[in-house]
């Protein structure tokens, strides 16, 4: 298709096409490549820009996050460290306080047991307690507020410029209202029978009157069992009891406000529910004691025991005001914040808590431990057991599978008896953690997600090992502090939020800049594309113009050459092309001119040769004609006179001589005739007049002529009439001559038998032919000779014998005649048996 189109183009078109193809295709390819490269660059820059911006933002984010995380961690660690230090410090203070009480009781043992002495001792042992004043429900009833705002503003004067950096002041610590309170609620002397003999009291918490404390029901909350321990004491030994006090119940756990009471549908009587710092500042306080005792000697003999009942409020004072926050200390605890301190005894029972109802007290009716707060499972088990708590608890292993997944039993929560006994507080697994931290008397911390907050919780053993506490590695018990972790690193998270904001703003700005950059790249790419396309188009136009011009220059010379060649072809052999320049076209022109020279010479030479040949031919014809003429002239005399002689001589011998002369002359004449015929055929001067010949008549005529000859030789001459084709397309005169030659030959070479002539139609190569055969019973022709008999001047051997005289031209002439009439001739022969000559001639004019 394309090649066909290309071939139809002229040279000029092809040249233009080639030029354009050679120049335009690379141009377009180059332009395409440049465009690709530009686009690739644009895309590369864009994507790299985006990547860089993203990477920068990510780095900023990561840096920010890392800084914040580091800050959080640092703050957390510092806070942890501070809180752990605070915890151990508190524990130490508690232990020191307890040790001081050891000293107190030993000193008390030296006193004369009298009420007066004892009263003086109690009055001499006082310690400050801080009270937070009165609180009233807030106007909205959702919280408690101080009745009187305790503090006035105390503005600090501005610092000097030199001190201005990180100039940080704190208000005076607000511990509340300081009051001196007796350390001990009771001082007694107990005789060797367990009877109180002397008693001095403060505060009115314990019952007055001397009792037999060997019986528990006569002790505080019916829970004291020190008599059995006292008897084991030697002089100087000290007994220290556990914390003992009546359990204060809670109407419900959590803020005790008017709003909350309404919500729960309960009456608002905070005074009847357990105290809980800011959650219920007017509630019932836990009133407990810790009793010290030591033997009293007189004359080296134990005469009784002195006891001191420590007011539990002094223990509570160590933790109630502590806040593990920058606030450090407050006159009232805030249990809802989660930031507070509390104390557990060596059995992991709560002995100091901002919520007094959480302190594990005793049932004053029974003197048995109050029912603690339980999870659903333990509650259900206890209820199912039907036993009183103190009997049921004996069989429950402490810290039984505690987990945050456990939920406090609602019934337990609502029972009002929710003291914390960590051994059975299985929905608070931190108990187990504290227990573990202090297992060997140490301290530590961990973080736990509790009550919806991440809380750092610490525990530090109170290193007090007097009396029964010597048996416990965690001494008197342990102080714990719970702190809201988020508060520690509030500054860092604030910074994080600020950094996030900064990054977001930077990111936004970066995004805008990136879009600006992408827009600029797009614009630039557009300009590049326009420049590329337009310059490519201009170059293509230039190339096409140059191509057309060059094609014109080149082809004008070619067309000029073409017209010159055409002139030469049309016979102007002397025409030569004009040679211009030195290039290949000039070479080609020169070559053509040289060739034209040679052609011209050759044609001249050919012309000469032709005219020479023509004249030679003419000479030959003239010679032949002249020879024929010159031979015929003497033959005329020879033949004519011998004929005359033959007819006039009477002597048979003479007449035979005359006849011989005539016969010989006749042969010569035949030869002359044949030569002339042959010459005529070869010169193309023999004319044929074709037509449909009546074949049977022609054959009969020939045989009729030859019948005399045959008869003379005594031979049979026969025409087979059956199947003779009616006609043949030939020259009648020549066909007659052919048949005459063939029958003459047949008769000539046959001495006995005869000659049979027959003819039949035959199809050769789809054309109708007539086959004419002349069969003799003569000497035959040997196969090796059969191929030569149709050649000129060839006579088979026997021809040269005197009995077969002939010109040697007869068969050759016959063959030429047959072939001139569009036929063919051939022979088949069997030496000694005979020969069959056949002639094939067209049955009709095939051209017509």
């Amino acid at each position: 298709m394309i090649s066909a189109f290309f071939e139809r183009l002229g040279i000029r078109g092809k040249l233009i096409l080639i030029f354009v193809a050679i120049k335009v295709v690379p141009l377009v390819l180059l332009a395409g490549y440049a465009w690709q490269a530009a686009q690739g660059l644009g895309e590369g820059v864009s994507s790299r820009g985006v990547e860089m911006a993203d990477a920068m933002r990510d780095t900023q984010r990561q840096t920010g996050k890392m800084a914040i995380d580091d800050a959080v961690r640092a703050l957390d660690e510092r806070s942890r460290e501070a809180i752990e230090a605070l915890t151990t410090s508190l524990a130490r203070q508690v232990a020191d306080f307890l040790h001081e009480r050891d000293a107190d009781v030993l000193r008390a043992a030296d006193l004369e047991p009298s009420e007066k002495e004892y009263q003086r001792f109690l009055a001499g042992h006082q310690r400050e307690l801080y009270e937070h004043g009165r609180y009233v429900p807030s106007a909205d009833g959702k919280s408690w507020v101080p009745e009187n705002s305790p503090f006035a503003e105390n503005p600090v004067r501005p610092p000097l410029p030199d001190n201005a950096k990180d100039f940080h002041t704190r208000e005076p610590e607000n511990y509340g209202k300081r009051t001196l309170r007796p350390l001990f609620l009771e001082m007694t002397f107990v005789d060797l029978n367990g009877m109180e003999r002397v008693k001095a009291q403060t505060g009115g918490v314990l019952s007055p009157g001397l009792r037999d404390i060997s019986r528990s029901e006569n002790t505080f909350v019916k829970a004291e069992t020190y008599w059995s321990e006292l008897k084991k004491l030697k002089a100087g030994d000290i007994y220290v009891s556990e914390v003992i006090g009546p359990y204060v119940h809670a109407d419900w756990i959590g803020p005790y406000t008017k709003a909350r009471a309404e919500e729960l549908g309960r009456p608002f009587s905070p005074e009847n529910s357990g105290y809980a710092g800011l959650e219920n500042p007017v509630g019932q306080r836990f009133r407990g004691i810790v009793r010290w005792a030591t033997p009293v000697e007189k004359g080296g003999r134990v005469v009784g025991y002195v006891t001191l009942a420590l007011n539990h409020d002094h223990l509570m004072a160590f933790t109630d005001g502590v806040r593990p926050t920058p606030e450090r200390f407050a006159p009232i605890a805030d249990p809802a914040s989660g930031n507070y301190a509390f104390i557990w005894d060596y059995k992991s029972r709560s002995i100091s808590h901002p919520r007094d109802y959480f302190i594990a007290g005793y049932d004053p009716e029974t003197g048995k431990p109050a029912v603690p707060w339980m999870d659903e499972q333990l509650w259900a088990e206890w209820k199912a057991s039907g036993k009183p708590w103190h009997e049921f608890m004996v069989d429950i292993p402490p810290f039984r599978d505690p987990s945050l997944k456990r939920k406090p039993s609602p019934e337990s929560s609502q029972s009002g008896s929710v003291g914390l006994d960590c051994r059975y507080l299985n929905h608070s697994p931190q108990c187990h953690g504290w227990d573990a931290l202090t297992e060997h008397g140490g301290s530590g911390s961990f973080v736990i997600f509790f009550s919806g907050l991440w809380k750092l919780t610490t525990a530090a053993t109170i290193p007090y090992y007097t009396g029964q506490y010597a048996a416990s590695k965690r001494g008197f018990g342990y102080v714990t502090i719970g702190a809201n972790v988020d508060d520690f690193h509030k500054a860092a998270t604030e910074s994080g939020k600020r950094i996030d904001g900064l990054i977001a703003r930077a990111d936004e700005k970066l995004k805008q800049e990136r879009e600006g950059l992408l827009g600029a790249i797009d614009t630039h790419l557009g300009t590049t594309a326009f420049g590329l396309v337009s310059s490519t188009l201009v170059m293509i136009v230039i190339v096409i113009v140059i191509a057309i011009w060059m094609a014109n220059v080149l082809t004008s010379r070619i067309t000029e050459m073409g017209s010159g060649i055409r002139r030469f072809q049309e016979g102007d052999l002397s025409h030569r092309l004009v040679v211009r320049g030195q290039d290949e076209m000039a070479d080609l022109t020169k070559s053509f001119n040289r060739m034209a020279d040679e052609v011209q010479t050759s044609i001249a030479r050919l012309e000469e040769a032709r005219s020479a040949a023509e004249s030679a031919n003419r000479l030959k014809s003239e010679f032949l004609a002249s020879m024929s003429h010159e031979l015929r002239t003497p033959l005329n005399g020879i033949l004519g006179f011998s004929e005359l002689l033959e007819s006039e001589l009477t002597d048979p011998v003479q007449r035979e001589y005359a006849q011989t002369i005539r016969t010989s002359g006749g042969h010569l004449l035949a030869l002359v005739t044949d030569i002339l015929d042959m010459a005529k055929i070869e010169a193309g001067r023999m004319t044929f007049s074709f037509g449909l010949i009546d074949l049977p008549e022609l054959l009969r005529e020939v045989l009729n002529i030859q019948s005399g000859h045959a008869r003379k030789k005594g031979l049979l001459l026969e025409l087979v009439e059956d199947g003779l084709p009616p006609s043949v397309f030939a020259d009648g005169l020549r066909l007659r001559q052919i048949m005459f030659n063939l029958t003459s030959n047949a008769l000539k070479f046959t001495s006995q038998g005869g000659v049979i002539v027959r003819a039949c139609p035959e199809i050769v190569d789809g054309c109708e032919f007539v086959r004419i055969e002349v069969e003799d019973t003569g000497i035959g022709i040997r196969p090796e000779q059969q191929q030569f008999i149709f050649e000129k001047f060839r006579q088979i051997e026997s021809f040269s014998t005197r009995s077969h005289e002939g010109s040697g031209l007869g068969l050759a002439l016959t063959k030429q005649l047959v072939e001139h009439m569009g036929g063919s001739i051939g022979v088949s022969s069997n030496p000694g048996v005979g020969s069959v000559f056949y002639v094939l001639l067209p049955a009709r004019n095939e051209k017509a």
């Binding site: 003429h629 005329n636 004519g640 002359g665």
Partner: protein, 130 residues
């Protein structure tokens, strides 16, 4: 023929520069009963014919030294005195083109040498029929 009719004898002239050919043609004609004269060239023939215009037949050789047989024939045909004269080319020119030319140039028949008595008889018979 007219002459022969009057004299009862047909008269012929044989023209040939070769004596043998003249003799042979004369002998054949004589054998056929003709009264024969001969001439050895074109000019003598024309002269003789001028004197003897009643000749019936002329056998005229073509290639003769003094006057070509064709010229002689042309001369004779130009002369109305010889309107009835049969002019036969008596020649060894056997090419068909020659024969055609002779016939076209006024010869009535052509006798190609070598002749036989039969050939002569055939030519003369041809005239008789015509």
């Amino acid at each position: 023929m007219g002459v022969a009719g009057i004299t009862g004898e047909r008269r012929a002239l044989v023209v040939d520069d070769v004596p043998a050919n003249r003799q042979l043609a004369a002998a054949f004609l004589a054998r056929l009963g003709w009264c024969v004269a001969d001439a050895e060239g074109g000019r003598p023939a024309l002269e003789w014919l001028g004197r003897n215009p009643d000749v019936d037949l002329v056998l005229l050789d073509i290639g003769m030294p003094d006057l070509n047989g064709e010229d002689v024939c042309r001369e004779l045909r130009r002369n109305s005195c010889f309107a009835g004269l049969a002019v036969v080319a008596y020649t060894a020119h056997a090419l068909p083109s020659d024969i055609e030319r002779f016939l076209a140039n006024g010869f009535d028949a052509v006798l190609i040498k070598p002749i036989s008595l039969q050939m002569l008889r055939d030519v003369i018979d041809g005239f008789s029929c015509a």
